[in-house]
Amino acid sequence: MFALVDCNNFYVSCQRVFEPAYKDKPVVVLSNNDGCVISRSEEAKKIGIKMGVPAFEIESFRVSHNLKVYSSNYALYGDMSHRVMSILAKLAPEIEIYSIDECFLQLTGFDAGFDFIKFGRELRHKILKYTGIPTCVGIARTKTLAKAANRIAKKEGHGVFMLDDEIDIQICLDKLSVEDVWGIGQRYASKLKSDNVVTALDFTNMPQSWVQKRMTVVGVRTWFELRGKSCIKLEHTSPDKKAICTSRSFGRLLDDFGAIEEAVCNFTARCAAKLRKQKSCAGFLIVFLYTDYFRKDLPQNSKSVTIKLPTHTNSSIELISYACNALKKAYSAGFLYKKAGVIVTDIIPQEQVLVGLFDEVDREKHQKIMQTIDKLNHSFGREKIKVGKQGFNKKWHLKSEYLSPCYTTKLSDVIEVS
């Protein structure tokens, strides 16, 4: 048996734990840079706020419906997520953290008469009591069915739903449209629909060879899963990334080279830190720079520059110097830029780095410096020590006008009680 535990409106719920005044009020959380709506309370959904609408469109609701708006506070959500996952890890034999607010549990080795629904209710109750976060639990024989069961648990409002009975499964799959099946993306869904396969039940009724032909083995796996045969196991470790990208929209349009350079240096440092965390080095570095596509009145200029590094590296110092060179090629004066980013790719484990014959960089020294910086930043806070080029101006910094305190990660930000 598998269970999928999903936190309800997770970002909004995190905010509400520390602001009980907004318990029954419409609340939304905006994406990075206060761009668009990414999490809505049930009340916000009811007054017609759609997922993904830009922030300026909901401005009027703040007055008319007393809508509470938050900028995203990932320090808070990360900590709350960690608490939820930690509780689950103690209650289930095996778990897979699927995203910041979803977790699969593998429930094997229980007696035949084990009451899974009761177990699900206890999970929910415990997480709510311990952290204040409401959740929904879907239970079924496969991960894909557990995901479907979770949708029902959420919609029908009981919070726990088990999908085990054959007839129940048929009814549920008939109501589920193919694009909502876990593992079937938009592109496959539209392809399937053109073949008159609209619901998940239609999909499971197609012959295996038909699915194999159109959707390869991945589709067949989903097909088996929906028919109750578990093919997708829990993933315990996330595989190391093949490419790492750090990219942000600027808080406002920038034309000044210095400010953009500072941003790019910071993105590069972030990529380098991620590389070091997974103990690997990159061989290619890509810097890209975009003007604001939506401002048709402004001249457009978007460019990306790729650099092959002479030796694979994860040193912030080295990567930043290459990133600056790349940026010089990508940048032209006279444009207003909206977004920049850095991608590092051709990632290999750091033990497999081949040093060039004419390599003049003291790699051992770099490694020591990076280790020291990582250690210091770990104990004194992110980016306490950084490369000089990363600067202090922060003109590029994200907009987050409605940021709440970091209630759980900063002593100066904890709740106050009288």
């Binding site: 009980p20 907004y22 952290t131 204040g132 759980t408 002593l411 904890v414 709740i415 106050e416 009680v417």
Partner: protein, 202 residues
């Protein structure tokens, strides 16, 4: 032993060895630093040797360490299995314990523990002064006389919980404040139970 000078007695690096401290002799102190990896291996080997030793009366062992930096022939380091008399081994070794970890003492359940700060004077007679830090555990169930962080009609408040027959009220610890009686009309929640009060004294 000829030609080797016992310069340093190495202790187990992490004190995690289940066996008593191994002592052995290494020729040059400088050399030890360079060969850190080998030395760690030697530790492992020694642990193994010691188990073996406990079954034998007079064993003889040699550890072979290869110097990675040069092409010289491997160094042969004889192993001394009885403690060398470079001082009496510390009698405290078997009793080593970790230090006191306040996190562990104060935070019994990290998943459900939150930190809050006291503002206002309603609990001053119970010792809660403005600026004090309190540790709040959400996992505990409220009992009569617990001090708790409650949310009442959307506001956080710190009070002593009194449960009497069929009614619940919040008792401030300051004569200038009066108790708050909870009615069904109130939106009331015991947010968490205060388990520790932390004060700064200078």
């Amino acid at each position: 032993m000829a030609g080797l000078v016992p310069t340093k007695t190495l202790k187990n690096p992490k004190n995690k060895c289940r066996f008593s401290i191994a002592t052995y002799v290494i020729p040059k102190r400088q050399w030890i630093k360079k060969q850190n990896v080998c030395i760690q291996f030697a530790h492992l080997y020694l642990s193994f040797v010691q188990i073996f030793n406990s079954f034998n009366d007079k064993p003889e062992f040699m550890i072979q360490i290869y110097n990675l930096n040069t092409v010289e022939s491997p160094h042969l380091v004889p192993l001394v299995l009885s403690p060398i008399s470079a001082g009496f081994p510390s009698p405290a070794t078997d009793y080593l314990e970790e230090g006191i970890d306040l996190n562990k003492e104060v935070v019994k359940n990290p998943d459900s523990t939150f930190i809050a700060k006291v503002v206002g004077v309603s609990m001053i007679d119970a010792g809660f002064y403005p600026g004090d830090i309190i540790v709040v555990d959400k996992s505990l169930n409220a009992k009569n006389n617990d001090i708790a962080v409650c949310s009442i009609d959307g506001e956080f408040t710190l009070k002593r919980i009194k449960i009497e027959h069929d009614r619940v009220f919040l008792q401030p610890e300051n004569k200038r404040f009066s108790p708050i009686f909870i009615t069904p009309e109130n939106d009331f929640l015991v947010w968490g139970i205060v388990t520790y009060l932390i004060k700064k004294t200078r």
